[in-house]
């Protein structure tokens, strides 16, 4: 019965893979389908199918970070149920690396929870966790991506950049994972602000960590310069208005003092008198 379900799932996977080959753009939808089937198999307590489908989903790539976490959880539970504790522990370690506050179903039998507890124990001894951050290095005309990957999950960093406000596609750079990677950014060092997206990818192309999205990129840099001669931003800063206002006020005071303190001119009108 379990084998029948597994075969059925594999048939669905085959169809999904074939469709995915024919329609690459629909890969994300295909991936969601595979995860959905894995979830269904998990609800049916079909751990073999769950494990196989979850592995398939992971290998299909293009998963978002939260989907990757969920897939590792399914692998962890299914592997534990199948008696493969090492595999389960490895999956849980990866799940906790990406989402340290993750938990597993409290209704699980202690035997199934043990690998998760061991994985938590592993991370509790570590002060670092999976993370990435970006700094603008204007002097070197680039962005520095700092990556912390204690269990070497990442295999590639994809960085998209664009000068803020430009209506052009983002410039893509892919680099191998490293603790500190300098990404050259066209437009620097002159540009004030840079829009960026950072995606840390695993071997299958799944996104383990995102900073910004192409629709809503993150921004780094300084405030725009107040006045750019010949540029698009011609706002006059407040201090200029203050100076102009001061000059006008001083001139007004001066004119007022002049007219207030000066004597009106006198014309002497002749007259005759006698002693």
């Amino acid at each position: 019965m379990r084998g029948g379900l597994l075969m059925s799932g594999r048939m669905k996977l085959l169809v999904a893979v074939l469709l995915g080959t024919a329609l690459p753009a629909g890969a994300s939808a295909q991936t969601r389908d595979i995860i959905g089937e894995a979830e269904e198999a998990y609800l049916n307590v079909d751990f073999d199918a769950t494990l196989a489908l979850a592995e398939e989903a992971l290998e299909s790539g293009r998963l978002t970070p939260d989907r990757v976490v969920r897939v590792y959880e399914l692998i962890g539970v299914a592997a534990a149920a199948s008696g493969d504790e090492d595999r389960a522990r490895d999956a849980y370690k990866k799940m906790l690396a990406l989402q340290p506050d993750s938990t597993v179903d409290t209704n699980l039998a202690p035997r199934l929870r043990a690998p998760f507890m061991e994985a938590r124990g592993f991370w509790s001894t570590r002060s670092d966790t999976f993370a990435a951050e970006v700094r603008l290095v204007r002097q070197q005309s680039g962005l520095r991506v700092l990556l912390t990957d204690p269990i070497s999950m990442a295999t590639e960093i994809r960085v998209l950049t664009r000068v803020e406000g430009e209506m052009t596609p983002m410039h893509e750079t892919r680099v191998p994972p490293s603790a500190s990677a300098l990404i050259e950014v066209p437009g620097l060092p002159d540009a004030d602000r840079i829009e960026y997206v950072v995606q840390v990818l695993d071997a299958n192309g799944n996104r383990l960590f995102d900073l910004g999205t192409e629709d809503e990129p993150n921004v780094v840099g300084r405030d725009p310069r107040p006045i750019v001669v010949g540029g698009g931003d011609r706002r006059i800063p407040v201090w200029v208005w203050a100076v102009v206002g001061g000059v006008i006020a001083a001139a007004a005071v001066g004119v007022g003092l002049y007219f207030g303190l000066r004597h009106e001119p006198i014309t002497l009108q002749s007259g005759i008198r006698f002693e």
Partner: protein, 159 residues
């Protein structure tokens, strides 16, 4: 309504900038002296704070017809025009000035002269007291019969 207000404001502004009229009176010793001269002229000479006693020198120069460093002056006009207020010194500058006046006979001889030092922007209305010159005393020594003409007749063209 707006135009009227604007016009009123403009007239007020112009009026405020127009200046003031102050009298400068020539004080003749008598009506006879007035009748015996034909023209008068006023000179304005700038004087410094230490030149308040410069009137005698200025009068001497005026009687000789060679007053130096005048800042402003009227034309030599008939004394009757002075009497009618038709002669003026426009826009007198501020500060201490010597106001020198001479009254001449038809021949041009200075019969009367006077000098006053004042700042018309600060002092009382200006009066220049005229006194007979030596030429007047020679022409009309004491005991000379008074003229038959009067101030009113003279300025009415009757004599």
């Amino acid at each position: 309504m707006t135009n009227r207000c604007g016009a009123i404001a403009l007239l007020s502004l112009l009026a405020s900038c127009g200046g003031l009229d102050e009298p400068i009176d020539l004080l003749f010793p008598s009506g006879d002296t007035f009748v015996r001269v034909e023209t008068a002229q006023i000179f304005v000479v700038e004087v410094g704070p230490d030149e308040v006693g410069s009137c005698p020198e200025l009068l001497s120069q005026a009687e000789l017809g060679a007053l130096m460093n005048t800042e402003q002056s009227t034309e030599a006009r008939p004394v009757c025009e002075f009497d009618r207020g038709l002669v003026n010194l426009p826009d007198v500058a501020e500060g201490l000035k010597a106001y020198v006046a001479v009254a001449r006979a038809a021949s041009g001889t200075v019969y009367l002269s006077g000098c006053a030092i004042a700042d018309v922007y600060a002092d009382e209305p200006l009066v220049v007291t005229l006194t007979p010159t030596q030429a007047y005393r020679v022409a009309f020594p004491a005991g000379t019969a008074p003229p038959s003409c009067t101030r009113e007749l003279k300025c009415a063209g009757g004599c």
